[in-house]
Symmetry: C2
Amino acid sequence: MMVSTKGRYALTVMTDIARNSDGGYVSLADIAERQKLSMKYLESIIAILNKGGLLESLRGKNGGYKLARDPGDYNISEILLLTEGTLAPVNCIMQDGVQCEKAATCSTLPLWAGLDKVIENYLSKITLEDIINGNRRKMLGDYCDHCDTL
Amino acid sequence: MMVSTKGRYALTVMTDIARNSDGGYVSLADIAERQKLSMKYLESIIAILNKGGLLESLRGKNGGYKLARDPGDYNISEILLLTEGTLAPVNCIMQDGVQCEKAATCSTLPLWAGLDKVIENYLSKITLEDIINGNRRKMLGDYCDHCDTL
DNA sequence: CTTATTCCTACCTCGGTGGTAGGATTTGTC
DNA sequence: GACAAATCCTACCACCGAGGTAGGAATAAG
């Protein structure tokens, strides 16, 4: 599994806030209630989003969280990357410049690199707004005959 | 991580056999030696490939393993699917017909379905032969301007 | 009958996932 | 000023899959 509950819940939180904010702050309790998820666990995930600058928060009564930008300005890749740490499908393609010692002679490496690229390409093209609007054509790719058969 | 060492080593084993078989059987010890991997661990992985019908085996002296088909007739998806069990990037898209209970109202599900499709599409188009031949254009996709910018 | 090999079963360690618990701090409202 | 509603912070924990290891039984070639 490439994306754990952390990343999935992060995305759920972002869409929930986008939908229910209306300019104001949305409380953690409300999100947990609506999404039927553990408030305590969501809290730890939201903290990541907040520290990462994807959300803005207000403490105290009537406080909560709101998006730092317009939904269309978030791509899914950055949300998942922040919460998951990496989106690489395999260990041997780790980003931080550290390469597998066998990389030079590894014949399967191009495959993993290609897979990584395909994933990153897909996720970076889709925005939070696409999810809110239920843009199925963009997400499921039915519109692209070429890519379907390729 | 979507693909563990099990799947990666499985692919490494398949390419090693394809390269070194020459019609005959390749022994586990030789593969482990060439690839610098634990023979005991490889053994458990090769057992899956063998039971799954991707390899043929011969016991006893001068025994070993060989491919059941031509390299060009294996696509990477089936090799990884057999060893990993699933290639789904998230838990909530599990294949066996069992769906998440929130599926009907989940706005992020199409995203995961689309991601799953993109991955499956990529891996099913590449063959073992492509890896052996180092077909970088196909694996890294540089030839497709359209898909690059899409 | 010896040797090289696959086949089978059982076991082990470690780190990450998926949480839970409790309290400290901040802010709006009366 | 008190209270309530909210975020923020630190610590803890159980479970399970990843990534192996170990030892021996069965089989086939020479």
